[in-house]
């Protein structure tokens, strides 16, 4: 793994943290007594701090350091942050985000407002901390020593030193003689150490010539505690070529008072360090320690929590699964295989089919993630929008656990933001009085919900505002030339006009949802993931935006139709109904254009074989099947020879060369191995 890759991981993690902080702060604002949330926020900042410094992101590091201080202050005091504090927190999160971007792109300087925000943060601390908290008794090392019964070691127990000269005789080459004195605390075993460990480590970088052990107290067998270190001092005569610093590393985790390393000078200048005899030390012969080496067994690396997979690889897997499904279908529908009337063959194929389905479902579920995060993000959008236009808004979330395709989650975020801003800006009444008169709460209610409906996922954004003024929309569309006066539009079509490019419902383009782009970007974005937007509205009760999404992007539910001996697939999502008209319901205008009467509507008939220029046959409409399809422009009846059936198909692109073929959006391999084209209903009429 390279440093770059690590950085990538960090950036991803940091973004997650920042996003979560945003949400946590908003939730905290709602329930300021929730210290756990504050802790969460603190922890996020804390993690950022640790990693930021690891990557030398000093600007980010400094900012989060101070931010952490403020959070820590609130976390550990009884003072509840005020609204302005929360605003500052959110501002800080923004700055953290921006600073991170600066750091990533290695831009110099600071993002706008960095200094100001940092100053404010520091001000909070200084003003709030004017009354210093009662000084806590800090525990010093000495207290600790006392607590652990250390004081008796302050003066090392005198031990009789054997003749030093004998040790010098045993030195080899460049070795130096050291005396290492270990005065390990009595709790040493509980801390995961034992004398043996140090001996082992020492033997790696030098030779232990001898050791002298001084037991602390005599204890009886009854009082013996196996977890208590009874050796108050061990003196080790140690020969090594390593430096003193290298030896010290071995004792890195010991308290400073627990060890002492002394380079022992040659006897000529010998100054015995300890020369008073009090107890008889026990000499333990040094034993060469065998290294436990076991190179054959490779350590298995187990990542217990999550496996990160390259999205590309996952896509390839989906592709292969698609192939598998096709091959499986082919097997099931192959005439020759069907002809084999053998129970075992049938059973095997059935079994294979079952397993294929299972694999398909499981693999598809890999891409599915709960929509929760996207919904939570909207809290911030609502809060900001609400502040900006001065309307109090209550956001209700429903069905956050609904799972949708990850690609769609990404495509969904912007359209949702747009719709929500639009609802708050234009939907919810500006005047509280107006709301009260209509018997509504002072707070505007925006409901965001997600649920499954018939093989689709529905995301619903609902507001309880004044609703869409149909008349106004229609007039505006006329003004802008989006509709012609002679066009007859039904309710849904009028509402859909607000998503036409160049349409803006507000008389004054507001700062919030205006910005020159209309709701048409919502439609474009949703359609890019094969979804659909429907708008409905009840005057004075509010409007609802329905985003209808397919379950996955790789597979669509298709209606298979035949025209001129060829089969085609129409996405079921666009089909309203199919029917065979009576002869008197078909009208011909000017011997060219055909229409069909479907209940109260008059729909143009589009002959599929003509549009795709398959042949010039012209069967009677009342002897064919008409499929009623709705696209952006309205409804039309597609004339096909017959309906073959409904099937889930795996979408295949047609390749670069055919990608722009009009009327066709892709292809699919059918069960019998034949290729069927998927029709693009937008381009048929």
């Amino acid at each position: 793994m390279s440093k770059e890759k690590l950085k990538q991981i960090f950036i991803e993690e940091a973004n997650d943290i920042i996003e979560k902080m945003d949400i946590d702060i908003l939730n905290y604002e709602e329930s300021p007594s929730n210290k756990a949330l504050l802790n969460e926020i603190f922890r996020g900042v804390h993690t950022l701090k640790g990693s930021a410094n690891a990557f030398n992101f000093s600007r980010l590091g400094e900012f989060v350091h101070h931010f952490e201080d403020v959070l820590d202050f609130f976390r550990s005091s009884d003072i509840t942050p005020s609204a302005s504090h929360v605003d500052l927190f959110l501002e800080s999160v923004n700055l953290i985000k921006e600073t991170l971007e600066f750091e990533i792109s290695e831009r110099s300087g600071h993002p706008e407002g960095y200094e100001a925000c940092l100053n404010q943060i520091q001000k909070i601390i200084s003003t709030l901390k004017t009354t210093p908290e009662p000084a806590q008794a800090t525990i010093t090392c000495n207290d600790l020593a006392q607590e652990f019964g250390n004081e008796i070691f302050d003066e090392p127990m005198p031990v009789q030193r054997p003749d030093e000269a004998s040790f010098f005789e045993r030195l080899e080459g460049e070795e130096t003689l050291y005396t290492i004195i270990l005065t390990l605390d009595s709790d040493i075993y509980l801390r995961g150490f034992d004398h043996f460990l140090f001996f082992k480590n020492l033997s790696h970088v030098g030779r232990i010539l001898a050791s002298f052990w001084s037991p602390i107290d005599t204890c009886t067998l009854e009082t013996f505690d196996s977890e208590y270190n009874y050796f108050r001092q061990v003196e080790i005569m140690y020969a090594t070529q390593s430096s003193q610093a290298q030896i010290e590393e071995i004792f890195d985790f010991l308290e400073p008072q627990e060890y002492r390393i002394v380079a022992t000078p040659r006897p000529t200048v010998a100054q015995p360090i300890l020369n008073v005899v009090s107890e008889e030390p026990v000499e333990v012969a040094s034993v060469p320690l065998a290294k436990e080496e076991n190179k054959e067994i490779k350590a298995a690396l187990v990542q217990k929590t999550f496996l990160k997979i390259d999205a590309q690889k996952l896509d390839e897997l989906f592709d292969s699964i698609g192939e598998l499904v096709i091959a499986q279908n082919y097997l099931g529908e192959n005439g020759k295989i069907k002809a084999v009337r053998d129970a075992e063959v049938t059973k095997t194929i059935e079994n294979l089919s079952k397993i294929t389905k299972l694999i398909q479902n499981r693999v598809m579920s890999l891409r599915m993630i709960p929509i929760r995060d996207t919904f939570e993000k909207m809290k911030r959008v609502v809060r900001d929008s609400s502040k900006k236009v001065g309307k109090p808004i209550h956001l209700v979330l429903q069905g956050e656990d609904t799972e949708i395709d990850k690609t769609m989650v990404e495509a969904l975020s912007d359209p949702l933001i747009h719709i929500i801003r639009n609802s708050i800006d234009h939907g919810i009444e500006t005047n509280v009085e107006e709301r009260r008169k209509a018997g509504k709460s002072d707070e505007g209610i925006v409901t965001l919900s997600a649920y499954h409906r018939g093989g689709n996922i529905i995301i619903e954004v609902k507001d309880d505002g004044r609703g869409i003024n149909k008349e106004k929309v229609y007039q505006k569309a006329l003004e802008r030339g989006l509709v012609k006066p002679e066009d007859e539009l039904n309710e849904a079509q009028i509402y859909n006009l607000i998503m036409q490019p160049g349409f803006s419902t507000a008389d004054v383009i507001s700062d919030l949802s205006g910005r020159g782009v209309g709701l048409d970007v919502v439609r474009t974005a949703i359609e890019s993931v094969r979804g659909k937007v429907e708008i409905s509205s009840v005057p004075n009760q509010g409007s609802t935006f329905l985003i209808i999404l397919p379950l996955t992007l790789a597979i669509i539910d298709g209606m298979i139709v035949r025209s001129s001996e060829k089969i085609f697939i129409i996405p079921t999502l666009c089909i309203i109904e199919s029917f065979r008209p009576a002869e008197d319901e078909v009208h011909v205008a000017g011997s060219k254009e055909e229409f069909v009467q479907l209940r109260s509507e008059l729909l143009p008939i589009v002959r599929l074989n003509r549009v795709l220029e398959l042949d010039t046959q012209k069967p009677n409409a009342w002897e064919s099947t008409l499929v009623c399809i709705e696209n952006q422009k309205g409804k039309f009846a597609l004339l096909v020879d017959e309906l073959v059936g409904r099937q889930q198909v795996v979408i295949k692109t047609l390749g670069e060369f055919f990608a722009k073929t009009e009327g066709v959006s892709g292809g699919a391999v059918m069960g019998n191995g034949e290729v069927a084209l998927i029709l693009n209903v937008e381009e048929l009429y």
Binding site: M1, T47, G50, D187, G192, A300, T305
Partner: protein
């Protein structure tokens, strides 16, 4: 069989950094290395015998439980009582350290850590 080292930290960055630092040791089979993002999950696995360690390295500030609480809990079980636990954290206040020592924490490492330091610490504590 190499000694078993477990690292628990709720930062994926830290886990990945450590993983990278220890690649060679793992490759040589000197240690087995397992990482956990969730201390509660680790504790559960340990107490139910699904997991074991010769050395545990733990962050302090984690969502589900603090590293010190994790250490304290483990130290209260005979099986893990004497096993070394290193704390890897940005916090190194004397108060914290005192609490750590009282619990029986083996040692402290401060983030950010160098590869070398981590390797040395593991080598030292396990006597490799």
């Amino acid at each position: 069989m190499g000694k078993k080292v477990i690292l628990v930290d709720d930062s994926k960055t830290i886990l990945a950094t450590a993983q990278m630092a220890l690649e060679e040791m793992i490759g040589r089979g000197t240690i087995q290395f397992t990482t956990y993002l969730n201390p509660a999950e680790l504790l559960d696995a340990l107490l139910n015998g699904r997991e074991d360690y010769d050395l545990l390295i733990s962050d302090i500030n984690m969502a589900q439980m603090s590293g010190l609480d994790l250490a304290a809990e483990l130290k209260s079980h005979d099986k893990f009582k004497n096993r070394p636990i290193l704390i890897l954290t940005t916090e190194s206040s004397p108060d914290m350290k005192a609490r750590g020592k009282a619990i029986g924490v083996t040692g402290w490492m401060v983030k950010p850590f160098s590869d070398d330091k981590l390797i040395k610490a593991i080598t030292m504590v396990l006597g490799l």
